[in-house]
């Protein structure tokens, strides 16, 4: 097991690297296709706009290696913008095609009906909506840290594993095969988040 964190130059890598290290995982920062190929567990973090994220992925020639990683059934975890990039398209920074790993689009929370203060920032409870491998299985819903103005929308709910409520239900996490995504930041969610990351590194692939 080796965790690779994709370097998009616009994201906060240290926190994610430190979180995995604290769990005893071997961690590498990867920025090319050879790097991606060398790891079993790949993490796509994200800070910034959808458009900037996709541009960085393509500029670094990482789109194909990332898709290959997912197709082979190796473990892939998208965090925040990283999860959003799995969608077919996004609108942040201009309409942009996404990775198309999961069906759906990414839209602004205002467009989805949120009238309150944005970004949606702070600690919010997530409701687990189906069996999954990363979220805790006990009755207590985890409280995790969110900071975002855009959300993943999908016509297919079968891979949505949890939602959070901020006037509307927002997709909080997804899972299909060994592809996982989280709108919140497990690396910033104290113990609740570290437990989730610990389950991710235990995914066999």
């Amino acid at each position: 097991m080796k965790v690779g964190i994709i370097d998009l130059a616009i994201n906060n890598l240290s926190s994610i690297r430190n979180a995995f290290r604290s769990l005893g995982a071997e961690v590498a920062i990867v920025s090319d296709s050879a790097g991606v190929a060398s790891v079993s567990h790949l993490v796509l973090p994200g800070v910034g706009t959808f458009r900037a994220g996709m541009e960085q992925l393509r500029k670094r020639g990482l789109e194909e290696p990332l898709l290959t990683h997912a197709t082979k059934g190796k473990a892939l975890l998208g965090l925040c913008l990283g999860m959003q990039l799995f969608a077919d398209e996004g609108t942040e920074g201009g309409r942009t095609a996404g990775l198309g790993i999961l069906p759906g689009r990414v839209a602004h929370l205002r467009e989805l009906g949120v009238t309150g203060r944005l970004p949606h920032v702070g600690w919010n409870e997530i409701s687990v909506v189906r069996d999954n491998r990363l979220l805790p299985s006990n009755a207590q819903n985890p409280i995790v840290y969110f900071v975002h103005s855009y959300a993943f929308c999908t016509p297919v709910s079968s891979f949505v594993t949890s939602t959070t409520s901020y006037e509307i239900d927002i997709v909080a996490s997804v899972e299909r095969g060994n592809v996982f995504g989280m709108q919140f930041h497990p690396e910033k969610s104290q113990r609740s988040g570290l437990e989730i990351l610990e389950r991710f590194i235990k995914v066999t692939c």
């Binding site: 616009i10 906060n12 910033k188 104290q190």
Partner: protein, 264 residues
Amino acid sequence: MLKRRLIPVLFLRNGWLVRSESFCEYKNLGNPVAQVDRYNAWDVDELIYIDISSSDSEDHLTRGKLSTDQQGFSCSIFEVIDAVAERCFMPLTVGGGIRTLDDIQMRLSRGADKVTINSEALRRPDFIGEAAAQFGSQAIVVSMDFVRDNGGLQIYSRQVDCAGLSAGDWIREIENQGAGEIFLNSVDRDGRATGYDLDLIRLVMDKTSIPVIACGGAGSYDDFVELFEQTGVSAAAAGNIFHFREMSYILAKRRLIEATVNVR
């Protein structure tokens, strides 16, 4: 439902943790990193570090080096970010002396989630827009210092002349530029422990649709309750009350829960 946040704020001056009063009296509290383990153990919602070293006379990029010349345990903001990011898995906001996109990049890449921008935004409002476009609005907090002026609110800055600046116009401007949050500091209440300036905080809340973190004036746990009950702020921030009292953060949370404020 989204929880309301309670945030310790740590002020750094020339590499030392300090307390501040009315934005000008400073008392050295020692090594900023030593505090980290305590906040980690307290499971705080978020941490804010603000570097208040005078940025007029120093090149903010070399401030890190200044501190290492001193004896003892002082730390640059970068050493603080490294130390916090290594041990704490909680949201971290840092501010002070940020003037360029590189300044932001250096802080975010080391483990900060958000930066606060103050003087440079006043000098050049477009900087907020540029920063939001590159790093996303969620990473850009605009810090706003205010004083009471004839019952109204006047933006305050030591670096930039704000005499003609209407608070309402300024709030609209930063929101349009793409700021993700407002960190609102009362200069009059800073270090006074007489409670938050609720009227003026409400005034700001009415003028903006982005989340507001209020700071300045907390002297008792009931001040937090009052702030949350009487205004729509997303977060209460405070410095001194957390530095000088044992278990203060935990006790404050307990008080908020007793008062049925929606906190973690």
